[in-house]
Amino acid sequence: MFRNQYDTDVTTWSPTGRLFQVEYSMEAVKQGSAAIGLRSKTHVVLACVNKANSELSSHQKKIFKVDDHIGVAIAGLTADGRVLSRYMRSEAINHSFTYESPLPVGRLVVQLADKAQVCTQRSWKRPYGVGLLAFAIGSRSQAAKTYLERRFENFTNSSREDLIKDALIATRETLQGEKLKSSICTVSVVGVGEPFHILDQETVQQLIDTFELVTEEEPPAPEPASEPAAADQGGAEQGAGAEQGAAPDEGVAPMDI
């Protein structure tokens, strides 16, 4: 991306009708390490690559539980991600308390989107530099996307195990040859009758071992329906509880540079 005279603040349009600050914030998401999500009729799996800077340091947390029925995986500026997660948790618990029922995910997403939009229209703010997961975002996520694109139509009827397996394989795709170990990835599940939770490292390693030996089957699904990156100005969707019926968002075209 190039520097130019229209990218100093978010309230400056370029002559071609672009907001560079917003686009730069999306770049932050693309530079982050990959996070992916898949859903079937009954379950949703979020998985991400969790590489620490050194052997000695701990991994950056990328998956957050928002409520029993909602979880998010983030890519980009983790600080922004934590702020938004805190907001979402707050909204979810306030709704639960007032109405004694879980906040519909679609509503949380809209509230979040509206909140993120404000930051693109105030000169003293900046957009959130984080994408909250729709299906695959982050660096080298294209490989994961490609894998998922070919298969996503089949996920609807997948069993929970198959869905997790697919998530792990997609994660592996983003690693580009590096061996997939439970120490560098995180997997979380939510489903009908199953509250959102992060799988512990042992379980994940077992699952990895189960399928690593099997060569990947490639039943080609003829239509790779284009699912563009859902990461927009910091407020996309998150892995939804199975009750939610919304389809993955279509990104706005100019934002996909």
């Binding site: 109405y99 004694e100 679609g106």
Partner: protein
């Protein structure tokens, strides 16, 4: 939102000539019992149409049963103006719910919970909404029936009542209510309760409405009256023993002790 000023603050102001009270201290125009039961297809709720001003049966066409959104029915006893205020709150709530335009809608459980929070918070500010509310509804096949009092006590049950209904109607319901009542049986049961209330509650009027809510929606009946029987021998010739008895001074009919 309401100011937290109470009367003591106003008293200290030497310029004001009136002690202002901005909290509800007593109810003025009140509705009496509401009774509701779960039945096979949903909820049945009954209330009379009286608005009493103390002992005077002042207003006789007060609708105390109102639909809320697509899935709920609200019945209220207590201060009528506070009930109207609550309806305004709920109106706004449902409006915002609809404005999301996302296919989600607030069900009876959510509305009941919301009302509980409103009532309890007002109670905490010593400025209650002087009502007992019954919230019933059906959503996705699930029947729901709950009550909230003016101090925020709330619970759910298969049959609920407010005010006098708790004392006169619920014992009948405890004996005779069962799961999967038909519509006809449900109405008969409610009418039995309302008749007892009519006889024994002095603030009841003989003009009532019964409302039903099912998955399909809300229906509130036209107002009608219950048949009553007053031909008991104890009520005949009420003044026959009056002369000479300690009831001499009392006008109107009164219960005599001899029979």
């Amino acid at each position: 939102m309401e100011m937290l000023m109470d009367s003591s603050q106003a008293e200290h102001s030497f310029l004001s000539s009136v002690t202002a009270s901005e909290r509800t201290l007593n109810p003025y125009v009140t509705g009496t019992s509401v009774v509701a039961i779960k039945y096979k297809d949903g909820i049945l709720m009954a209330a009379d149409m009286g608005g009493s001003y103390g002992y005077t049966l002042r207003y006789k066409s007060v609708e105390r049963l109102k639909p809320v959104g697509k899935h709920s029915l609200l019945g209220a006893s207590g201060e009528i103006s506070d009930f109207q205020e609550i309806l305004r709150y709920l109106d706004e709530l449902i409006l915002y719910d609809n404005m999301w335009d996302d296919g989600n809608s607030l069900g009876p459980k959510e509305v009941h919970s919301y009302l509980t929070r409103v009532m309890y918070n007002r109670r905490n500010k010593f400025n209650p909404l002087w009502n007992s509310l019954i919230l019933g509804g059906v959503k996705n096949g699930q029947k729901y029936l709950g009550m909230v009092s003016m101090i925020g006590v709330n619970f759910e049950d298969n049959h609920v009542a407010t005010g006098f209904g708790n004392h006169l109607a619920r014992p009948i319901l405890r004996d005779e209510w069962h799961d999967n009542l038909s519509f006809e049986d449900g109405v008969k049961l409610l009418e039995k309760c309302m008749r007892v209330l009519l006889y024994r509650d002095t603030t009841a009027v003989n003009k009532l409405q019964i409302a039903k809510i099912t998955e399909e929606g809300v229906t509130i009946s036209q107002p009608y009256s219950l048949k009553t029987f007053w031909g008991y021998s104890a009520f005949q010739n009420p003044t026959v023993h009056a002369e000479g008895s300690w009831l001499d001074m009392v006008t109107g009919w009164a219960v005599t002790t001899m029979e």
